[in-house]
């Protein structure tokens, strides 16, 4: 049911764990199935320098979290904000239809983390 890329990200998840001295943290969860994800960002000069995640959920939830961390590293916050859950699924080469709605949360966590960052460091600008 999962393609090779999804299985690879599940098996060898990238950027796992809590990021020491993260500048921002974003959380999200699915009320429906109970999946939860926490994303940590280290930002320098508006660029995502480092990123890590922690996820409770199924194989798709773990793989999409891992995929997202690869996609955002080195991106500006503006570029990162444009990434959608669908982009993450596409980058993984697709997810089973049922998983698209319940386990594909990574971009939401990213957006929350960026909001957290802006509220801390760019409060005046985004107001």
């Amino acid at each position: 049911m999962y393609n090779e890329k999804v299985v690879d990200h599940f098996n060898n998840p990238r950027n796992v764990g809590e990021l020491a001295d993260a500048d921002a943290v974003g959380e999200t969860g699915s009320f429906k199935c109970g999946d939860t994800m926490t994303l940590y960002l280290k930002v320098k000069d508006g660029i995502i320098e480092d990123v890590s995640f922690q996820t409770y959920g199924c194989g798709a939830a773990i793989a999409s979290s891992s995929m997202l961390t690869e996609m955002v590293k080195g991106k500006t916050l503006e570029q990162a904000l444009k990434i959608s859950n669908q982009d993450v699924a596409d980058e993984l080469g697709g997810l089973p239809p049922l998983k698209l709605h319940c386990s594909n949360l990574a971009a939401d966590a990213l957006h929350n983390a960026i909001a957290d960052y802006r509220s801390k460091y760019e409060a005046g600008k985004t107001g």
């Binding site: 959380e27 109970g34 922690q54 996820t55 409770y56 199924c58 194989g59 049922l98």
Partner: protein
């Protein structure tokens, strides 16, 4: 992927044994006659089908004419419940439990839409039903009680004998879904005082797509289909002859082996439970003793079942889960919810079901691999607490 494959999902289905396949093959080759035909080719097959019926009856302590072949457990359950309901002149009352298989629960829900009233009895935290609650739920309108012999997820064995006695005392039909228990533990329809019993061949190393319904002589139910009158009109349609032959051979073999097999499976089961409980934050689901010989169901806290299954699959281990994410629905198993598990504990459940072919060496392998799979996922989980 691992080179080694360990199959611990016998509750889902089992491999067909060589002896069973051998018995079936002639009926997929030269013995192709229709058992209803008058000619020699038909008569030979008729005699084989009736011989299979006799063997099946013998394995259950039933009379030959009380066995009806069907397409499996789901059809047997449907014929029993819907067939009994069709016999009612006006809407009546059904007693069942909240932990039944969907092949009973969803039939009951359908019958509710048709005007019947259904009582879904609760179970305790080990999945056990209280027979006194069954008796208390009886009303003058109750026409059937349907309680499974063993739960397919957590393996809890229900006191079907006691419930049978209660039903008999009140002159109410008693049906049991014995799909998980048949071929695993002794089933005697007279001792259990059941009127209707469902079984499925692929759960005891027989082929898929064939099952049987035991109907005690004199019990009146209406058929769901009309047709050529096969299976004494209760289940018309040309018989699945190879399947029927396979079912009876598989049942014969598995029942014969019960005394030896039960002990072996129980010892494997208890060793697996002990081994898994050594991992931090693991709970056993279901009853510690009153459970199917090969059934182990545990919840690993802080991690989710589908990801555990995937991790186990990478190691070549086949198991199943009550997690929503593995079932295709969004809710965790109704059985795990019924025994009071919170969402996260239910989501982290894994069922290992051992059976014919599993060995101590398989168990060594599983016990060696599970801690690593669990630890890896707990390191990813934001709920923290690694092993």
């Amino acid at each position: 992927m691992s080179d080694r494959q360990v199959y611990m999902d016998h509750g889902a289905t089992t491999p067909v044994r060589e002896e069973v396949l051998e018995a079936m093959l002639p009926f997929l080759r030269e013995q192709y006659g229709n058992p209803s035909s008058v000619h020699a080719k038909g008569r030979a097959v008729r005699s084989a089908v009736e011989n299979a019926r006799e063997k099946t009856a013998l394995a259950l302590g039933a009379n030959t004419e009380e066995i009806y072949f069907t397409s499996g457990g789901t059809e047997s359950n449907n014929i029993a419940l819907r067939g009994a309901a069709k016999k009612q002149k006006k809407p009546g009352h059904i007693i069942t439990s909240v932990v039944e298989h969907h092949a009973v629960l969803d039939v009951c829900r359908d019958l509710e839409k048709e005007g019947h009233r259904v009582t879904y009895l609760p179970v305790d935290s080990s999945g056990l039903l209280d027979p006194a609650a069954v008796e208390k739920a009886i009303t003058p309108e109750t026409f059937i009680i349907s309680i499974m012999a063993a739960n397919n997820e957590i393996g809890t064995l229900q006191p079907v004998g006691e419930i049978g006695a209660i039903a008999a005392g009140h002159n109410i039909l008693f049906h049991t879904d014995a799909v998980q228990v048949t071929g695993q533990l002794p089933v005697d329809v007279k001792k259990l005082q059941v009127d209707l019993l469902s079984l499925s061949a692929h759960k005891f190393n027989g082929p898929k797509g064939v099952g049987a319904l035991y109907r005690r002589k004199g019990v009146k139910i209406d058929p769901l289909y009309r047709g050529g009158g096969q299976e004494r009109k209760l289940r018309p349609g040309t018989e699945n002859v190879p399947g029927i032959i396979g079912l009876s051979r598989a049942l014969e073999l598995s029942v014969e082996e019960i005394p030896r097999k039960t002990k072996t499976l129980q010892s494997l089961r208890d060793r697996l439970i002990r081994g898994l409980l050594k991992i931090d934050d693991v709970v056993l689901n279901g009853h510690p003793e009153k459970r199917l010989p090969g059934n182990v169901n545990v919840s690993f806290k802080y991690i989710e079942g589908e990801s555990i299954l995937l991790g186990l699959d990478m190691q070549g281990i086949a198991a199943s889960s009550g997690s929503a994410c593995s079932s295709g629905s969004l809710d965790p198993s109704h059985v795990l919810s019924a025994i009071g598990l919170d969402h996260h504990t239910a989501h982290g459940s894994i069922r290992f079901t051992m059976g014919w072919g599993n060995s101590e060496a398989d168990l060594d392998y599983v016990l060696d691999k599970v801690p690593g799979v669990v630890e890896k996922l707990r390191l990813i989980s934001p709920m923290g607490k690694s092993v």
